[in-house]
């Protein structure tokens, strides 16, 4: 039987624009090419700006995880300016960060992922739903459709908590360097407590049982979309005067060995990306220019390697590294880990609200930088996120961002090795040709793709 080349585009229900090319032979995916088709160039945009613009500017990299960029750039500025962060500020910051996580995970599971498994009502925007493998009984299906619309409210309420403290959402204003600019007054805390109470009830009464139901009915997906067990996390939720204490620790898991992540082991590769092949890997150097006509390239995402190998990042990596999940690395494991993490983060948020001391805005910004370069890392909703900056005074000379999507959607590197998503797709059995997009869509969406995040170029100091 001959090899078929098939283009899966657009892969809808995600953030940004994604097209995936696969070759299929004997009902199996033989090769896969995941292509991001958008590029904006945020590293260029950041250059020559005042470095304190970074928090507001870089949130514009991504609409669904904007606060993550604001958080990591705040950590970066805290380091550059040598700020001391008060404890109350950490509670406020982590409450806001957690609220954006809940928003993201709830929207991803219900609005983006659910129509892969549930028959939606036959009206826009659900018409022409090409679902070729529906297994839920009518009653369960109806319930999950109802929960789709309940999730709309739960996610809106999550963003409402973020706005109560952050001014607005997406692209909040008060989580900045030096602390948080908002005063945690009793009325705000009470409003947030009422909101988190209803969100947590939704997570426990709907999201967790719904995940369990999907996992049970589609349990073959615990064996589909498996990645090599190489996982990486930069850790999540910081405390301590210098942002030095991390609640959920970071780690690099490979060959069953867990090590702390070292930024200097990260490198990038543009062999199959639309950038000129350039051998520059430092903050000051010239960055590879975009090369949209480059033959053989198929994506705006660069390949990111750690110690020369590809790593998967995201809730599953975070949960396994922190021993909160002990499953495998399949499509359904990714979905389950994300839902469980949602529950844990909802509980943390509620707890932090009770620890917050009502009072004046916990913020103290120092006025001049004590360093001219720094690297900051955190995990975001989709996994490991890195920002780094090189300054001349307070002016940005170089600014680099490596997003989780670049780890997971890495194209083939110079040795032709695949990144996590492509690895997850290759070798998948397609029972019937009509099922191709359904199966591919389920695998791809389990990574919670966000291509907006990846629309820039990266270049880490080696």
């Amino acid at each position: 039987m001959k090899t078929q080349r098939i283009i899966f585009s657009p892969v809808t229900r995600l953030s940004g624009l994604l097209s995936v090319e696969v070759t299929v032979e004997k009902n199996r995916v033989k090769e896969a090419y995941a292509g991001s088709t958008m590029f904006r160039g945020y590293e260029w945009i950041m250059r020559d700006r005042h470095v304190t613009d970074a928090v507001y500017m870089t949130q514009r990299v991504c609409g669904i995880c904007s606060l993550a960029h604001g958080a990591v750039s705040s950590y970066l500025l805290d380091d550059l300016y040598d700020n001391d962060i008060p404890e109350n500020a950490h509670y406020l910051r982590n409450i806001m960060f957690a609220a954006d996580f809940l928003q993201n995970h709830i929207r991803h599971f219900y609005l983006f992922s659910l129509p892969d498994y549930v028959r939606m009502p036959d009206r826009p925007p659900f018409h022409e739903q090409d679902i070729t493998d529906v297994r839920l009984v009518e009653k369960d299906n109806r319930l999950l459709v109802e929960h789709y619309f309940a999730a709309v409210k739960a996610a809106q309420r999550s963003h409402e908590i973020l706005a109560v403290f952050g001014g607005k959402a997406p692209h909040q204003h008060s989580f900045v360097h030096g602390g948080a600019a908002v005063s945690p007054t009793a009325d705000k805390v009470n409003r947030a407590l009422a909101l988190i109470d209803s969100i947590n009830r939704f997570i426990k009464d709907c999201m967790i049982p719904d995940t369990a139901l999907i996992a049970r009915v589609y349990n073959d997906y615990f064996h589909i979309g498996i990645t090599p067990r190489r996982l990486l996390s930069f850790g999540l939720f910081r405390f301590g005067a210098k942002n030095d204490r991390v609640l959920w620790k970071g780690g690099v898991l490979s060959d069953d060995k867990l090590d702390p992540p070292e930024v200097k082991l990260i490198e990038t590769d543009v062999t199959r990306s639309w950038f000129e092949d350039a051998n520059v890997n430092n903050l000051t150097g010239r960055q590879p220019e975009p090369a949209p006509y480059k033959p053989d390239a198929y994506t705006w995402v660069k390949s990111v390697l750690y110690g020369g190998r590809h790593f998967e990042v995201g809730p599953l990596a975070r949960m396994i590294i922190n021993r909160r999940y002990d499953g495998g690395t399949s499509t359904m494991d990714r979905i389950c880990a994300r839902s469980l993490e949602t529950m844990l983060i909802g509980e943390l948020l509620e707890n932090w609200l009770t620890k917050l001391e009502p009072g004046p805005p916990p913020i103290k910004q120092k006025t001049s930088p004590v360093k001219s370069e720094a690297v900051a890392v955190t995990d975001s909703m989709r996994g490991a996120l890195l920002h780094s900056a090189l300054l001349n005074g307070e002016r940005v000379v170089g600014y680099e961002i490596i997003t989780p999507t670049e780890w997971n959607f890495s194209p083939k590197d110079r040795q032709g090795r695949r990144g996590p998503v492509e690895n997850a797709l290759v070798d998948t059995a397609i029972p019937r040709p009509k099922m191709l997009f359904t199966v591919l869509g389920r695998i791809i969406r389990s990574f919670d793709p966000c291509l907006s995040c990846a629309t820039h170029i990266i270049n880490v100091k080696s």
Binding site: R40, D53, F126, G167, H171, A181, R191
Partner: protein
Amino acid sequence: MTREKFAAVCRKLSSRDNHALTEKLLSAVKTHRAKHNTPKLSVVWIETNDSGDNNISFMNTTFPYLGRVFAEMIDLLYSNTFMAAQGTKALAVLERAAAMQYGPFTLVVEGAIPVKDDGLYCAVARTQDRYITAFEAVTRFGKLAEHVVAVGTCASFGGPSAARPNITGSVGLSKVLPRKIINVSGCPVNPDWFVGTLAHLLMYGRPELDRFNRPALFYGFTVHRHCQRRSYFDKKDFADKLGDIECMFSKGCMGPKTGADCPYRQWVDHVNWPVKANTPCIGCTNEDFPDGSSPFFTSLSVKSPEHE
């Protein structure tokens, strides 16, 4: 509800009342649709180069929540974010819309349009043999649509996607589409501004626009005009630092030159806005955002002396 009454609701500035605009919309739309036998507004939403923040902000709409907007106001035929269809089925929907099989539609564009290097910096989809660039998609559908709405500042004016040095040559929709475009700017758009505009289109057609082609209903006054901290400004009582309760002009506030109703509309079920969170407005609805607002924390009289 008459068009005038609708405008009054949109413009209502009272702080005593519930600030929600959209709460009033649904019943108005319902009555209007029943009385005039009007179908829902058909919408084709094309996402180009932006961060996707506008579709997220749209999901934050309250009264009506997103589900009711889908059920009672719009038929969202094509949307990379929301549609259940995927791959070739999704593209087939787009082709059917182009063939007018769903009747007249409103085009919503979210994101800037890169025009350098044949527009290859953004492709909305790929077929077996080529990429469909954002430029190709919006110019094609822009000609066919009954109304064209640019949602967010990138689509309206270029925005962050076209910020200097703009190596992708990105521009706002009006630079590539020679027809009347309704710019619903903001980074992101406030859901009330967007849902309110859709409701206006559905019931009365195109709303009155300001000189930047934005619905005057929402962008007609400056942030500064209705800011709760205006009395501090008038007494020249300025904040020393972020977190202070005085006027944020000294910390870079763009309120004096930014058309938007944030001080009374506020965000995410109308709970807060940047100045209320003790930070400056950064002028995200403006034609020159973000370059005209940058450095964000430098006083307007320094970064843009003509506005002192």
